[in-house]
């Protein structure tokens, strides 16, 4: 039950968070539009789909018919990129209104976005740009998330991003920043395992340290994706299969956090749909190992 983002965040419970039963469990897929027809025709055995909401906000009812059909057969969650959680720009209420209307029509189980910024002064970068990890930024982002949650009428999930720069003004580790924003705003966590690994290599920390410091009761969903190695740098391209090292980290995450709903992301260099289903089976196999 949503108590209001502000009210919920003021008194975050330390024990297990009350969660309503959800049809979102097991291994899901971030669904690209090019695969819609296959899902409609073949009804693949995927328990849920993640929909990139921003791709559909400006569509006509006719253009949304396929998505309606999929929604009638499968539970879904929304994954956004436009909330611009960390920007110094004002919260974009016209964008939020579109998300809210879309959400009321399609009823996703939850809505997520990224702990980053994407726009400033009307200039959009179509990328997930990083923030310095400071107490001042925590306060700033927390206020924005509360405003967004109040507008949408529900808690959102915030996702950790991959980053390629770090700021000298940073006061704390990424995981502490991530956790603190979640606790103070009431937003739950979407833990991207690939991004943890990519950042651990690019910024020089142990990925297990990240997992050790994430409160189990605040994680609602996980993401898995592939990266690309360019010289010694890892780039979060979402254009490859999940790497063996990321599978290892995911198994550790399952041990520490439990078998949380996990979504496979593949945005570029798309394989055929059957290959994606095969990769989902690999997620499912790992989730079915008893981690408790």
């Amino acid at each position: 039950m949503y108590l209001g983002g502000s009210a919920f965040a003021r008194n975050p419970p330390e024990g297990p968070l009350e969660q309503k039963p959800s049809p979102i469990s097991g291994a899901g897929l971030s669904l690209r539009e090019c695969h819609f027809s296959q899902v409609i025709e073949k009804s693949p055995p995927v328990p849920w789909f993640e929909i990139l909401a921003d791709n559909f906000l400006n569509r006509s009812p006719r253009q949304l018919r396929d998505l309606e059909q999929i929604r009638s057969d499968y539970p879904i969650v929304f994954h956004c990129v436009g909330m611009n959680l960390g920007s110094a720009s004002p919260v974009d209420k016209s964008y939020l209104k579109q998300v809210k209307v879309f959400s009321e029509a399609f009823k996703p189980e939850w809505i997520s976005d990224h702990l980053c910024w994407t726009e400033i002064n009307g200039h959009f970068h179509h990328d997930l740009l990083p923030l310095p990890y400071t107490s001042k930024i925590i306060s700033h982002v927390t206020d924005r998330i509360k405003t967004i949650q109040d507008f949408l009428g529900q808690e959102i999930l915030i996702e950790n991003i991959s980053s390629y720069i770090r700021f000298k003004e940073t006061e704390m580790n990424e995981w502490d920043f991530f956790k603190e924003v979640s606790v103070r705003s009431g937003a739950l966590l979407l833990l991207d395992i690939n991004n943890i690994y990519v950042n651990s290599v690019n910024h020089g920390f142990k990925p297990e340290d990240y997992l050790n410091h994430i409160p189990r009761n605040r994680v609602r969903q996980m993401h898995l994706a592939g990266f690309e190695k360019q010289n010694e740098v890892l780039i979060d391209t979402h254009g490859h299969s999940v790497a063996p090292v990321v599978w290892n980290l995911y198994e550790k995450a399952l041990e520490m956090l439990g078998s949380l709903p996990t979504c496979l992301e593949r945005d570029n260099n798309l394989p055929n749909f059957e290959n994606l289903l095969d990769e989902i089976k690999l997620i499912k196999a790992r989730m079915e190992i008893d981690h408790d």
Partner: protein, 261 residues
Amino acid sequence: MTDLNDSQSELSSFLYSRRPSNEQSSRLIQGLKDDGPVSPILGLQIYRNNLRVSLVEALKEAYPLTRRFLGEDVFKEYALRFIYEYTSFQNDLNRYGEGFWYLFDKENSELSVFLKDFTQLEWTWHQLDHEVEDEILGVADLQNLLRMNPEKIVLKLRSSMKLLHLETNVFPIFQSLRSSCEKEQEIQTEICFENQALLLFKSDGQRRIDLVEKELLPFLERTAQGIHLNEFVTHFLSKEAGTSLEEALYLMISRRWLSKS
């Protein structure tokens, strides 16, 4: 938060500069840590590359026919000029690319005039895909219309309709390139550009192009906003001598030009 606005504006400005100055780069790098595997310079380059790739890909999606016409290398050069002159002002990348034709304004050749028209046509055609279709005023509505007080009737063009008057005859090449790129049905019209203009709109889920005499354009531009029937009679019938009101309305309705709302 002024500090945050300043730092984010600085990074934004850097990302959107085709050739950032040494001063710009130094200021940014000074604020970044350099004690890990990824140097600040490399990290910033990754973000610059991400932005460039996103926007160039968006332009390729918006102008596939222009891209085929110009070839990959020339198109990419124009695309890079465009992205560093016209930043993205909205979240939806499908809407990025309007004004690509301004690049050709700065050139002074017959080809640039052609390209200006071609890209305008392609952009307008492409954007129709994203238009929400309104309900058409149909033949069945015509009789009801004619019974009403003419002063109360407001006629409006379809909300998706765009009016284009172009200087050059781009259509044969447009059609030829389209037929190899798109699966949509052939546009059933012949183009003669001497004294005609284009109406592009969406009807029954399909994109359409119709022709009108250029001298009708001022009237049609007003009809887009809504025009009372009496004005319609005055303007339209004066252009189409010998046409009755019913015939004129039927003409526009049968072409699916008019909106019910």
